[in-house]
Subunit: 298 residues, 2 copies
Amino acid sequence: MMSENELTMKDLIEIVDQKLDEYMIVQTPEDLFKSMRYTVLLPGKRLRPVMCLETCRMLGGDFEKAIPTACAIEMLHAQTLIHDDLPCMDNDDYRRGQKSNHKVFGEAVAVLAGDALLTFAPQIILTKSKDLTAEYKLKVLNEYHQYAGAYGVIAGQVIDIESENGKISGETKDVLKYIHLHKTSDLFKLSIRTGAIIAGASDEQIEVLTEFAEKLGLAFQIADDVLDEISTFEALGKTPGKDKNAGKLTYVSLFGIENSKCKLTCLFDECYDIMNAHELKSQIFTDIIEGIKKRVKI
Amino acid sequence: MMSENELTMKDLIEIVDQKLDEYMIVQTPEDLFKSMRYTVLLPGKRLRPVMCLETCRMLGGDFEKAIPTACAIEMLHAQTLIHDDLPCMDNDDYRRGQKSNHKVFGEAVAVLAGDALLTFAPQIILTKSKDLTAEYKLKVLNEYHQYAGAYGVIAGQVIDIESENGKISGETKDVLKYIHLHKTSDLFKLSIRTGAIIAGASDEQIEVLTEFAEKLGLAFQIADDVLDEISTFEALGKTPGKDKNAGKLTYVSLFGIENSKCKLTCLFDECYDIMNAHELKSQIFTDIIEGIKKRVKI
């Protein structure tokens, strides 16, 4: 393997893809594992595992120790996609340009494949992280359960679904922020915090990076909302304009395209400020931010 | 608390119910936690957590150390009930005499409450097992993920669903055994194995108890199939005859009532043989077995 200093985003994506392919080997029952594998291996930017590995590397840690955790986070992300796409949830037929999981394997298997990924992912952390001590494994698992569950991603998804059904308690903009913080930022926090923990970061460093992850996650979600308005099926890999047509609460529906782009610029500036203030140097995080800016044309 | 030697099944059920009530406190988002709490706290026999605690006690361990794990297993069990009852799965409107989760909270919240329980349960093991060392927590979590996931309960559920849709590969009786081993015995194994691990049991003891759990689980599932045929809604807490009407593959549909009762008697005898051969003394396990025998009239 090449020197860590030379690793690009493409290199990290390749490492993640290769390991995911290895971890997601089809076992018995075949349909279950095929369904799990199908969504986990859909072509993607592997943003969350890359952020986990890059955070570890950026803080001077051995990023290879973080590979099982990084892959587990991508599996968890795939789980949220499978269940979000179900007819009783967002009812999406396409994901990353391919048919969504339940359109290929049926609803029952899709529900069960999501369930299975929720326990398979931490099992990967438990059984494949051979370089982590018991204490570190427990720390990482604690993060996983905190951000994956009822206090994290799922909290965001419940409030999102309820807001779609017109059940909003509190100021609309606060509800929207709650949804974004949990649905999107929490997986960014999980990725970046576990990468930092595995690198042996101090509590103070972890705090700073949590703030960074929160802002990056909010920006990513706003960018996603903007793209849903201005993009095509080909560029998006899923049906565009769906949120708008469903009357869904999004940053764009609430504040308009121009204000959303303005907010995005602000959030990215704040991300760079944090990196500069704490001497966090990472070409890959810079590439991630600049990549999003380019896609939404700011 | 009274001396452990005097503890009855009723005492253990009370301990579990009280702790579940405490762990399942309603937090934000309220609907999510209410939905999780609803199914976990449905009145029940708490068979799995009781088996976990009783195994620990029977082997000379401090059963209080096993309380978080025992409760986590009941949460996991509730998760399987919530998702099994969904319209795309078994489509059951009632569970334990009450409306099933999605009939009260809607399908979307029911899916998410199940998901949340899958991460909430191990989080309880992680954060509430203050008397377990890091090594022991990891051992217990490893069991949890092994039996809860794609290698365990979910494997059984997938094959069960497929068999309902007429997709059976292999001999019918082998498929049925596979379903029972995973859908039912795996949670019994998880309960009994974790109780044994927390008691500090030897690998040999754990092996013996795994065999015991497998037989008890198979017996329990056959009894459930028999009751589905001979019982009423009031006694069952769910719609009886449903499996039969759905043309579902069950022990009774394959071998008939009399052969099923015969198999049950055999399995219980084997359970007692294991207990006697290894000097495992437990009034509570005896009560569990005799209770089932009484219900199915053997």
